[in-house]
Symmetry: C2
């Protein structure tokens, strides 16, 4: 045994084809993946095209679910800008390793070069760092978190809640999309967006307006060449990666859409799958962690079943 | 103001050139970067060439500091294999998004195709998942951690400690290098190695033998094209990324070495820089996090000053 492919498969807990498993020692408990695969149709929700962005890159489509419950004004502005084609032909101009990919108008601050905003774009928005937790379903994890009193999920997004202040906010996990700003809290308009591509930079939580989450296509963003340290801005315009377009899915002909479903974070399958990851016991894992970090909880996505 | 480059600079807390700062509001406290820049020479340690791997890729050099204190047998085997040129001409054959890059002999489990191990390579090693904490300096963070009773740094590596069991182990942070294994805890020999490229998969802590940390060149690994889900193994041999060589720095002529220093994790500068990140207060951050996660603590590296 040369400890290569099989080793990796087992080391990272992916189910191997039956032939590769030892028939004498069937798994005692369902794995997270098995639980997700067996989830009933009711555990899945359809991705809403009116609330979804398609970012078309030369390498393929990045799909972002927007979070209007968390940042209604930013999301409304994003929809206006997408309808007006604001990002079409603009670029990804910053990639900082283990931090963020950032895109928008690289020349937005250069007089005479900035691309005009589409009609109806608001040039001032309120800060949308937190929202009221009142009346918002929050699927709380039992796990301790160093950054916030409570963590869990709301509107299908990773989130945190503070019972003392009664506020709720999205958290900077891998794949989260946020709006860059200046020093003034109300200085973002969502024209310049960033996507988290590394260890969750949660010190940024409730300091920026978060607008959504990449649910498909992260591997198109995460492989972008890193710009030079410390901040990852590409030095030459030619290094910037072109964005073909960013459109609302509902503005794309139906045949060109990517129908997806997301596992509801309030479903029993989601709760059970998370528990299977928190306390994983199998032939490989002898000591279950007994814990899971908010940003380590996968949020399953699948193609919408046919028929 | 179009909220582009400046927005990003401020949003992510990098010090701008003086001209871009508002002279009327000088920073009240030193930033983490300023503290690191002002650290005395005694706060830095030289990277030991005898304990350093140079992984030469077509795009450049990845530098790994080995962790013999944590995994002495694995590190000794790595040195034997590197001296024997084991990885020279082998490949990176697996890249799973938000998880790991894995390299070694992609055909190591195929009879007749596996590359022979160099003379002296041990084909069996003990599991080195934890070590005794006794007598090992541990620079403990005050921050709560969900995965371990205590977290901090030992031998310059991110680590966790359990006072009840008296054990210490390295943690799966971004850039950490580990040895893949089969189900048996003692089935790794460090021929097949992985590097963490996403959110810290700390459920793997004290389940695998960790052997070191990438201290320079992560951006060469993190941009590798992702293989297909779920595990990221490239489907075709031609997709594998070639490794020119992996050598011990001490086996490379001195003029070809990369002299580096690392900030000591027991230095006051390191403690102060970490505190500046934990409780960042400046024109951008109005609410300090009051917390830092072990895997969010940067471990500063610099070129060795001349002279």
């Amino acid at each position: 045994m040369r400890r290569t492919l099989l080793a990796a498969a087992l080391a990272f807990g992916i189910i191997l084809p039956a032939a590769a498993q030892d028939a004498a020692t069937p798994p005692k408990r369902k794995t997270a993946q098995e639980i997700v695969d067996a989830a009933p149709a009711s555990a899945w929700r359809d991705l809403d095209p009116a609330n979804t962005l398609y970012m078309e890159l030369p390498g393929g489509r990045v799909i972002i679910e927007l979070a209007p419950g968390f940042a209604p004004e930013h999301v409304a502005n994003i929809k206006t800008m997408a309808k007006g084609g604001f990002w079409d032909g603009l670029t990804i101009y910053r990639v900082q390793d283990n931090f963020v990919v950032q895109f928008g108008d690289a020349e937005g601050e250069e007089a005479g070069k900035a691309k005009p905003y589409p009609a109806g774009t608001k040039t001032h928005l309120p800060a949308e760092f937190t929202r009221s937790a009142k009346g918002v379903r929050f699927d709380k994890l039992p796990d301790v978190d160093g950054w916030a009193p409570e963590v869990g999920f709301a509107d299908g997004m990773p989130a945190a809640r503070d019972p003392k202040t009664g506020t709720l906010w999205m958290t900077h996990c891998y794949g989260i999309v946020g709006a860059g700003r200046n020093n003034a809290p109300d200085s973002s308009i969502a024209a310049e967006l960033y996507v988290v591509i590394g260890q969750a930079p949660r010190a940024l939580d409730h300091q920026l307006s978060l607008v959504g989450r990449v649910i498909k296509g992260m591997e198109l963003l995460s492989v972008m060449p890193r710009g030079p340290a410390p901040m990852g801005f590409y030095e030459k315009p030619g290094q910037r990666a072109p964005i073909i377009s960013i459109k609302l899915a509902s503005d794309v002909p139906e045949v060109q859409r990517t129908p997806l479903q997301l596992l509801r974070t309030d479903s029993q399958a989601f709760i059970d799958a998370t528990e299977a990851r928190r306390n994983r016991v199998d032939d490989f894992y002898t000591q279950p962690a007994g814990h899971i970090d908010l940003c380590n909880v996968p949020l399953p996505v699948r193609e919408t079943p046919k028929g």
